[in-house]
Every structure is written in structure tokens, then in C-alpha cells.
């Protein structure tokens, strides 16, 4: 039996059996003597069966899904913004049912406690008078917003969502590292991690009896509804700072998952101390705002005056009780790390209970004894800012040299309230698949508690983050590192429950996504315009590159000259290309125009523009549409090393396919709402403009239509249909008639006008004046009354000006139409503070 004696190739081994964590810290999968913990046994065997090969395949699969879903995290750590793809480890963190049953009440206790503290700080402030909190802890706390004092949310519910960062000490005890109460992030990433991991590890997931996340979201939605007792169908919106925010992916993802419109501050307005959303159909009342904007930026009138992210008058609307803001403005006050030191006493005082999950030991330097202790033990403590708003990272005393320690001590003495010392915690570890082996990495588990209609619920799972390296003391998405799905195991089989199933329950009463902020519609309009501009540019450049890659016949040469000059006329190429240039020069220039992102109007620059617009409406695109748009950017290759026309042209062919897929999605998969209508209007206006501009440029180069008509028909993808119709080589009169007047040709001007006529007629009537309708009717009549065959014949008899004037008038008309629509439907005059 030779097979049995041969060792298995090391590559095939997942390494779970040989995984050896350090004995100094708590490892989630194996105990101090290296034995697999009971709740990891089954899963560990499953990993063994998968082997290295299986894990690698699944990781590849997960990466692909993450890229397709566009899961990103915007990072500012290096001073520049960069969208980073989310990292998800192949091994989840497993938590046994028994252990979870102990954590759950501890987490809820903490949310109740912090909510009570907030109700006191923003109300009677008895905790200060009774000596349970030093007043300076509040007064020096930049998270305490004086303007929000006295604003009471319904049921005194300040926290609808609370995140708690946990880790485990070497003895196995869970500890709280920090609370997030301002606008906690991670819920969406946790959900996305689950969506992906449960797909790539489908069998393992099913066999492990993992508790599902859906119940949490259903309970959370019910909790929000209960906050607006004045209506039984509250309009809920999710407010984001916008696509540049670190966690924008999550905002868009959650908005779509929960079925709430995603809005920016500019989409909302306060009238009569009530909040409204601006839509094409006018102002629509808003009852509940889930805010992902930090509270100080939420109202330039009463909070930070320099904020452009907020809604003027929002604090007053909340004060009047006309809108619910979740979490309440000012909730950030209790995420101050300095508060940790006081929570055990506050729990006894406010709840009559001991804190179930202890805090990491904390000494706030605003108190003399604690300060003295911290100063005496700097070398072994972690030094942190005492409050939110401190941008500095924690300092590890043990890693500091003597001079640095002295400097830290001096800073603490100068501003003691701003600092605290914290016990250095050895984070627990869990196995992370590095690509070829399992490695123990420190982790932090972020748990989530939401308010429900009658209490609080804990997400049965969470967001586990692991450090970027085995010995890194910092676990933060800002510094890289990865994440894990968190599987809370159940003792028995798990009931299937999805949010969509929950949606069928009779209690679901929010108004649906029908309300769309007008900014979103405007983004679709520009998405239509830029997607079409990208296609037009790509087609035009392709006609030139095809001739550069051809056989170099005399006809091709003549056409190349005509196209090059047309591109000069369209200002895509510099003036010097009007004169004859070598193939090499033209190819190099076109290569730059295709791949150089900094080149305005170039292909890559337009792709970026489309991606940017897409990001702003991500929550409103179907999964497939989003994937296509996402591929546009991720799959467009880097500039080829060699500048042959063939190498440049092939990505353009692929791009045309992708853009065709996009238009297919538009036609077949988008609901015929205003978003679709404006996407179409944008596309039609752009196609009409590009066609007119290109024909004008062609006529300027080739007034008789002697050489440039074949490429022109190619550009408009009309070669075959022209040939079928006229059975002849292109003539100027028939070509112009075909491209301008034939409304059966989807590339012709008349076709664009026909579509516009229909769409403009379907727009909502806002007020009485409809300048764009009148204007378009005039243009429409102008086109219908023009005989291009005759004009083209006349052009040969040197009456070319009339044709060009007409084309120019139509082109200017298209631009004016775009401006009028923008002014009528979208103009967002910026609010200015004084």
C-alpha cells in the first residue's frame, strides 16, 4: 500500500490540526494545551476536509464577490483618500450558544445604562450633583452638545443602535474595550460578511447551526417605527455624509437592505419646524432620520456653522418633537473613553446591578489620584485621549523611550482632562487563513444592540476585526487588517427568517422607496449623459484605431486623416494633429487619450466620472446593473506597455460590450420611475449632442462626404442598416438623412427627439411654467421641418453655411434643454451661513 506510506503533500493540509496559538493569550479555537475547543471541533474538521486547496478556492470566490459587490472602506489614514477593498477571512469566529447567552444580557445592560446616562446628561444632570460623575467629565467633553440639552427623544430613547467592542483576556473573560454611540458603523459590513461567507462556505454554514441575522434587522425596524407614534406609516430616511465618507458602502448597502431612501443633508429641508425630503414631486414629510453623519455636522444653524453636510433647523425640529433622529443628536457624549472608569458605579446607582461585562481598567487623568497613578505607571499603560474628537492614536507606554514618556507626562500635566491611562489588554486570537497557512491574529469583536419596539435586541453575530499582522497591537480598519464573519452557534436547528419574509408581516408599514430625493434623480441624469459620452468617445476612438491597426490601404489612410482631423475639430486631439502625423505619433496620442486618467474627456477619465456618479446612487441600482458598472472600472486595464493600435483597441471593444450590457439593463431591468426617465433623458440629450457635434466636425473636414462617411456610419453603428436601406456606398444626402431624420434608427437624431418628446411629456408638473417643454417643441419643429437631403445637395453648391447653421442651432438647443431641465428640477441653491 504505497499510497498510505506517502505523506500527504503539505500544500493540501489546511493546517488546522497543526495550528498552534501562543499559550500567553486566549485563543478562540484552541485552549492553552493546544486542544481544539469543543464548539470548534466540527468546524475544524470541515476545514481539514477542505484543505489548503479548498480554502484557496473559496477565498478566490469570496474576493470575486467582494469586488462585485463593491465592498469598500475609504481610508484616510495615509492622508490621501483611497477606496480599499474590504478583507474577509475564510474562517469565521465561532461563539458557542452557552457563551452567547451570557454575553447577550451584558450587552443589553450596557445599552440601557448608557441610554440612562444620556437621559440624565441631556436632562436634569443629577449624576453631577450627586457626585457620580465629575462635572469636568461633561464640561471638557466635546461630544456633549449644549444646543441639544433639553431635547428629549420619544420614550427617552437616545440610542437606537449601540456598538460595543469586546475582546477576551487570557483567562477567557470578555472585556469591553470601547462603546460606539454616535453613529456606530459595522452593521452593514457584518451583514455583507455573512452574505458572502454563507455563500462560499455554504455546506459548512448549513451544518453549523448558525443563528441568522435577519431577526435583528426586523426588530430594529420595528423599534424605529415605535419612535414616531404620531403616524402609523413613518417615512424613514438614512442620512449619509456622501460617497466620500469612510463607510459610504455600508450606508448605501443598509439603505437598500432596509428599504429606506439614502439621503444627504442637501436632500432635506426644514419647514415650519418639520423635516421634508426634496423630491421631483415636491416636499415629502420625513418622520425618522437614521443618521450616519456625526451630530456636530447635522445642523449649521445650531451646531457647527461650517458644516455642509447638515440640515439648517434640524435641532429645532427635533426639539419641537417633529422628527426622530437616531441616534439622538448628542449621543456621542457617552462614547468618551473616560466614562469607562465610572460605569461600574453608574450601573449600581442607575440599575442597581453590577456591570455584567467588565471594562478594561481605566484611569482618567482629570482626577488627581487617577492622574497620579497614570503618571507613575505610564511605561506599562496605554495612553489615550479621554474624549471623542481626539484624533491621535493610542500610545503604548511600553513602546516609548524615556524622553518620549517624559513628553507624554508633560502633555498630561498640561491638559489632564484630555487623557487617560488604560490597562494594556492582551487581545485574544483566532486562526486567520493567510493564503497558505493558518496564523493566530489578535481580534476585536464588535457587537451590536438595537432598540426594539419594547426593549433591546442583540445582533446574534457581529463584526470581528483582526489585526494586519500577528504581533500588531492595533486592530483597526484604518490600518488594514481584515474582518471575519461571526457565527453564533445554536444548540438546535435554526429557523429560516429573512428580512423579505419579515416584510410580509402586517406590521411593516413604512412607506416604500417610492420617494426619491431630487439629487438622486439628477445623478441619474448625469449618469445617462456620461455613460453615453463614454460610449460615444469610445466608438469614435475605435474608428481611428481600427485604421491604424489595418493594412494601410490608400482609403484607410485617407479616412484616418479625416478622422484625426475630426477629432481635432472636436478638441479631443491637439491642433498639431491637423497636419499629417505619423502612425506612431497618432497611436501614442490615442493611447494617452484612452488610458490617462488625468486627460479630461479621455476614456479612463470618463469611466471614473461614471463610477463616481454610480457611487452616489449605488443603493438604487439593481445588483446586476451595479456589477456591470463596477466592472467598467475594475476591469479596464492599465495602459499596455507597447503602443500598438491593436493593443489599445481591444479594451475598447470590451468596453462597448459592457456599455451595451448597461443599456440593456436600463431597458429591461429598471422600473419606469423618474430615475429611469432622467437617465434616459440624459442619454438622449447626450447622444443627440454628440451626433450633431461629430457631423459638424466631419463636414468641416470633408464637406463633400468624399472620405469620412464610412467612418461616420461606423461610429454610429449604422453601416449595415444604411447598406440594407440604400444598397450603395455612402452619399452625403442619404447619410445625413439617415443619421438625422430617420426616427426608426436608434442612433439618429430624430429617434432621440422622439424619445425626448415622450419623456418630457411624462415629467411631473412643478408649477406652471415649463420653459423646457416650449423650447423642446420649437427644436422638434425645426428638425421635422428640415429636409437634410436637399440641404446636403445645396451644400455641394456652396450653400454649406445653411446646413452648418442648422446643425449648430440644434446643438445649442440640446445644451439649452439640459440647462433648463437642471434649473427647473434640480437646482440646489447652496445654503449659506451668516
Amino acid at each position: 500500500m504505497p499510497l498510505a506510506t506517502e505523506p500527504r503533500p503539505a500544500l493540501m493540509d489546511s493546517g488546522f490540526a497543526s495550528y498552534g496559538p501562543s499559550a500567553d493569550v486566549f485563543d478562540e479555537a484552541k485552549d492553552g494545551s493546544g486542544l481544539v475547543r469543543p464548539h470548534w471541533e466540527e468546524f475544524g474538521q470541515a476545514i481539514e476536509r477542505l484543505g489548503a486547496q479548498g480554502l484557496a478556492e473559496r477565498r478566490e470566490n469570496a474576493w470575486q464577490l467582494l469586488r462585485e459587490h463593491g465592498v469598500t472602506f475609504n481610508v484616510y489614514a495615509d492622508g490621501r483618500s483611497a477606496e480599499r477593498t474590504w478583507e474577509l477571512d475564510m474562517l469565521p469566529l465561532l461563539i458557542s450558544a452557552r457563551e452567547w447567552a451570557q454575553l447577550e444580557p451584558g450587552l443589553i445592560q450596557r445599552t440601557r445604562l448608557l441610554n440612562l446616562v444620556l437621559a440624565d446628561l441631556y436632562g436634569p444632570q443629577r449624576l453631577l450633583a450627586e457626585g457620580l460623575l465629575p462635572p469636568a467629565l461633561l464640561h471638557a467633553n466635546p461630544g456633549f452638545l449644549r444646543a441639544c440639552h433639553g431635547v428629549r427623544p420619544p420614550h427617552d430613547r437616545f440610542l437606537s443602535l449601540h456598538a460595543v467592542d469586546l475582546t477576551r483576556a487570557p483567562d477567557g473573560q470578555w472585556w469591553v474595550l470601547a462603546d460606539r454611540t454616535q453613529a456606530p458603523s459595522g452593521v452593514g459590513y457584518a451583514l455583507e460578511n455573512r452574505t458572502i461567507l454563507s455563500r462560499v462556505l455554504a455546506d459548512e454554514f448549513r451544518e453549523s447551526n448558525v443563528q441568522r441575522l435577519a431577526s435583528f434587522f426586523i426588530a430594529s425596524k420595528a423599534g424605529l417605527r415605535a419612535m414616531a407614534p404620531w403616524t402609523n406609516s413613518p417615512q424613514v430616511v438614512l442620512m449619509t455624509p456622501g460617497p466620500l465618507s469612510e463607510t459610504y458602502f455600508e450606508h448605501a448597502y443598509l439603505a437598500r437592505h432596509l428599504g429606506y431612501p439614502l439621503v444627504e443633508g442637501g436632500d432635506l429641508t426644514v419647514r415650519d419646524r418639520r423635516v421634508f425630503m426634496k423630491t421631483l414631486e415636491g416636499l415629502q414629510p420625513v418622520d425618522i432620520i437614521i443618521r450616519r453623519v456625526d451630530d456636530v455636522f447635522c445642523d449649521p444653524l445650531e451646531l457647527r456653522a461650517d458644516s455642509f453636510l447638515g440640515v439648517p433647523g434640524l435641532v429645532e425640529a427635533a426639539r419641537a418633537g417633529h422628527v426622530v433622529i437616531s441616534n439622538a443628536l448628542g449621543s456621542g457624549a457617552v462614547e468618551a473613553p473616560a466614562l469607562l472608569a465610572f460605569l461600574p458605579a453608574l450601573a449600581r446607582h442607575l440599575l442597581g446591578e453590577e456591570l455584567r461585562i467588565p471594562n478594561v481598567a481605566t484611569w482618567w487623568c482629570g482626577q488627581p489620584h487617577e492622574r497620579a497613578y497614570a503618571l507613575a505607571n505610564l511605561h506599562s499603560l496605554v495612553i489615550k485621549h479621554g474624549f471623542v474628537g481626539g484624533s491621535a492614536d493610542p500610545l503604548f507606554g511600553a513602546a516609548l523611550a524615556g524622553a518620549d514618556l517624559a513628553e507624554v507626562a508633560a502633555r498630561i500635566r498640561a491638559e489632564p482632562h484630555m487623557f487617560l491611562g488604560q490597562e494594556r489588554v492582551a487581545l485574544s486570537t483566532a486562526p486567520v487563513w493567510t493564503g497558505d497557512h493558518l496564523e493566530p491574529r489578535p481580534l476585536i469583536l464588535r457587537c451590536f444592540v438595537c432598540a426594539t419596539s419594547d426593549g433591546y435586541a442583540v445582533m446574534p453575530g457581529g463584526l470581528t476585526r483582526v489585526s494586519a499582522a500577528p504581533d500588531s497591537p492595533v486592530v483597526s480598519s484604518k490600518y488594514g487588517g481584515g474582518s471575519k464573519d461571526t457565527w453564533v452557534l445554536s444548540d438546535g436547528p435554526v429557523e429560516e427568517l429573512t428580512l423579505t419574509a419579515g416584510a410580509a408581516l402586517p406590521e411593516r408599514l413604512e412607506r416604500s422607496n417610492a420617494q426619491v430625493p431630487s439629487r438622486v434623480i439628477e445623478t441619474f441624469f448625469w449618469l445617462g449623459r456620461y455613460a453615453e459620452r463614454l460610449e460615444s468617445t469610445t466608438r469614435l476612438l475605435r474608428t481611428a484605431l481600427a485604421r491604424l491597426a489595418g493594412e494601410g490601404t490608400a482609403i484607410e489612410e485617407a479616412e484616418l486623416v479625416a478622422i484625426t482631423r475630426t477629432l481635432v475639430g472636436l478638441q479631443s486631439l491637439p491642433e498639431k494633429f491637423w497636419k499629417r502625423a505619423s502612425h506612431r505619433e497618432i497611436t501614442a496620442e490615442l493611447r494617452d487619450l484612452v488610458f490617462n486618467a488625468e486627460r479630461a474627456g479621455g476614456v479612463r477619465a470618463l469611466i471614473r466620472r461614471v463610477s463616481y456618479l454610480t457611487a452616489g446612487v449605488r443603493d438604487r441600482l439593481s445588483g446586476d446593473t451595479w456589477r456591470i458598472l463596477n466592472h467598467l472600472q475594475t476591469e479596464f486595464p492599465a495602459a499596455p506597455g507597447h503602443s500598438t493600435a491593436g493593443a489599445v483597441v481591444s479594451p475598447l471593444h470590451r468596453l462597448i460590450f459592457q456599455l451595451a450590457a448597461l443599456t440593456g439593463m436600463e431597458m429591461e431591468n429598471m422600473t419606469r420611475g423618474q430615475a429611469w426617465r432622467f437617465l434616459e433623458i440624459g442619454r438622449r440629450i447626450e447622444r443627440a449632442s454628440n451626433l450633431l457635434a461629430t457631423i459638424r466636425a466631419v463636414l468641416a473636414v470633408d464637406p463633400d462626404g468624399a472620405v469620412a462617411l464610412t467612418p461616420l456610419l461606423e461610429y454610429t453603428d449604422s453601416t449595415m442598416s444604411y447598406r440594407r436601406r440604400y444598397f450603395a456606398r455612402p452619399e452625403l444626402p442619404t447619410t445625413l438623412d439617415f443619421l438625422l431624420a430617420q426616427d426608426s434608427n436608434p442612433r439618429a437624431l430624430a429617434f432621440q427627439f422622439k424619445s425626448l418628446r415622450r419623456h418630457l411629456g411624462d415629467l411631473p408638473a412643478l408649477g406652471e411654467a415649463h420653459p423646457e417643454q416650449w423650447h423642446f417643441a420649437e427644436m422638434d419643429a425645426l428638425l421635422a421641418g428640415s429636409d437634410f437631403q436637399r440641404l446636403a445637395m445645396a451644400a455641394r453648391e456652396s450653400e454649406g453655411r445653411r446646413l452648418d447653421d442648422l446643425l449648430q442651432e440644434l446643438l445649442a438647443g440640446c445644451r439649452l434643454l439640459s440647462d433648463q431641465l437642471t434649473a427647473h428640477y434640480f437646482t440646489h441653491v447652496l445654503a449659506q451661513a451668516s
Partner: protein, 312 residues
């Protein structure tokens, strides 16, 4: 002393503004030293909402929303206020400043004010070593608190030049300190920054100052302006005002409207306007003394310079 006050703010917009929201601090405070006899707030065009409430610091504030298209907005506050000259303690008899620093101010929750609120940095007041060094010259070890404050007040008055063109409201204190120029707000913020840098509680006071016309000239109606100064917490004595722009401790010519950590807590009129374009702003303040027999006019000290813009 009895005063009739009017504070008139007019915005003009080149194109119609669709909505404007304003928050005003215009109603003078009631206190043992000051009685408000009459107050009226007029807004034109008629606001959709005008809601008055008491803010966190005990000041009256109004939220005003105008929701019809408007090319201009005027907000006028009229009041009648009686000011009673305060009796400030003898500076030499106040406790040593270190006692105020190390004492109970961070924990005190006194009924007449919470000094702890005014110990820390706020939007316009950022403590820094340079200011602590500057302030330290006035606060030698053991120096009675009010002596130090009077000295600091005088040094700001002498070392800094009143110059309405040198700064705007967003000029940081550090820059004012470097330029040695500014207006009353800047000097108040500077004084507060110095005191807080030493660990003393200091607050910002917004109000008006009666101007005295040059000898032989008539008082000009509307030539007055909003004014600002600071106040320091002195254990055993409470809050003591100081006006570094005029190098004096306010008596009965200072009318207090509101106080807070700095200007941003109590700006007389702040607003956010949607549309309208670049606005033009005119502010007119009039502080008219109403003679009551027998007139007991307190000794006036320093008359402020003539052209003061909106603020002294």
C-alpha cells in the same frame, strides 16, 4: 441707569432667498444688576415660526424661520433696561489666583453659574502655552485674582490695537495674538484664552456699551454697536466682568445680553439662508440713556474710538 435699546439687523439679497433660518440672542438678561422692563422682537417679512426658549446658559434665544421668497430680512429688537452699578471687590482683597485654579471651580455647581462650564477649550477659545506665558506675567505667584485680571485687562488694552479691518469672526485667537490687532470680540476671546490657559474659569459676555459723544457733539442715533467682554470666576465673589477693549471693569454703561463659552454660543444673530446670493448686511445699534431725576451718572473712564464697524 435706564436705557432704551434698539438693535436693528437688515439683510439684503440680490436674488430672492427661498428659506432662511435664524437664531438670535437679543433679549437682555435679567440679573441682580440688570432689570429688563420691556422687550419686543420684530421680524419682517412675517416669520413662519418664531420660537423663544431659554438656552443651556440661561440666555433667551429665538429661532426664526422665514419660508416665503424674500429679498430682504430685518430683525429688530427693542428693549428698556435698568442697570444697577455693580460693586466689585477690592482687587487686593480677592483670593490668590492659584486658589481659584486649584479650588472647587471644576466641581462647583453653584446656583449662580457653573464655573466648570467655562474652564475648557471651546470653538473660539483654544488654550495654548504662548497665551499661558503671556498671562503668567500678570499672575505672579500669590497674586490676588482680581489684581491679576485688572493687570491683564490693561496689558491687552495697551499691547493690542483696535482695528476692525484686521480680523473677522473666524480669525483664531492665536493669529490675533500674533497680529496684536482686533476688535472687542477678539480681545474678549484673548482674555478668556489667557485665563483658561492658567486653569481659571472665564466666560464670554455679549452686550452693549453706551457711547459718550465727544465734548460739544450730539449723540448720533444708531452709531452704537454690539459689544463684548469677559467675566472671570472668583471664589467667594462669583463672576467679575472685565472689558479689555476699554480697560475697565464694567459699571452701569455695560448692558448684558447673553453669556456663554465664547461668541459662538451667544452670537446676536446667526442664520442660514437658502438662495439669495451674496447678501449685504447692515447692523444698527442704538443705546439711549433715559434721564431720570435725580441723575446719578457714574464716572466714565475711557471713551472708545469713533469708527467701530459693527463691534467695538
Amino acid at each position: 441707569m435706564l436705557y432704551a435699546l434698539s438693535h436693528h439687523t437688515v439683510y439684503q439679497y440680490p436674488s430672492p432667498a427661498s428659506v432662511s433660518h435664524h437664531l438670535v440672542h437679543l433679549r437682555p438678561r435679567e440679573s441682580a444688576r440688570q432689570h429688563l422692563l420691556e422687550f419686543a422682537l420684530e421680524v419682517d417679512p412675517a416669520p413662519a415660526a418664531a420660537v423663544e426658549r431659554t438656552d443651556y446658559f440661561g440666555n433667551a434665544t429665538s429661532f426664526i424661520a422665514v419660508e416665503v421668497p424674500h429679498r430682504g430680512l430685518s430683525i429688530t429688537a427693542r428693549s428698556r433696561v435698568r442697570v444697577i452699578a455693580p460693586i466689585w471687590p477690592d482687587p487686593g482683597a480677592t483670593p490668590a489666583w492659584e486658589m481659584a485654579r486649584d479650588g472647587d471651580s471644576s466641581t462647583a455647581l453653584a446656583s449662580d453659574g457653573r464655573p466648570g462650564e467655562f474652564l475648557f477649550d471651546s470653538q473660539h477659545v483654544v488654550s495654548q502655552p504662548a497665551l499661558a506665558d503671556y498671562a503668567a506675567e500678570s499672575f505672579r505667584p500669590g497674586c490676588p485674582l482680581l489684581e491679576g485680571v485688572v493687570d491683564l485687562n490693561g496689558r491687552i488694552f495697551r499691547d493690542f490695537t483696535f482695528d476692525p479691518r484686521a480680523t473677522t469672526i473666524s480669525t483664531p485667537v492665536a493669529e490675533v495674538f500674533k497680529k496684536r490687532r482686533g476688535v472687542c470680540q477678539d480681545f474678549a476671546h484673548l482674555g478668556i484664552s489667557c485665563l483658561r490657559s492658567l486653569g481659571l474659569a472665564a466666560r464670554y459676555v455679549s452686550g452693549y456699551l453706551e457711547t459718550v459723544p465727544p465734548p460739544g457733539k450730539r449723540r448720533l442715533v444708531g452709531a452704537d454697536a454690539s459689544h463684548a467682554w469677559f467675566s472671570v470666576w472668583c471664589p467667594g465673589h462669583g463672576w467679575i466682568d472685565a472689558d479689555p477693549t476699554n480697560n475697565l471693569l464694567p459699571a452701569e454703561r455695560h448692558i448684558t445680553v447673553a453669556w456663554g463659552r465664547d461668541y459662538s454660543d451667544v452670537s446676536p444673530v446667526r442664520g442660514v439662508v437658502v438662495g439669495g446670493g451674496e447678501h449685504r448686511l447692515k447692523v444698527g445699534v442704538d443705546v439711549a440713556r433715559i434721564e431720570e431725576p435725580p441723575a446719578a451718572i457714574a464716572a466714565t473712564q475711557v471713551a472708545p474710538s469713533a469708527d467701530s464697524g459693527n463691534y467695538f
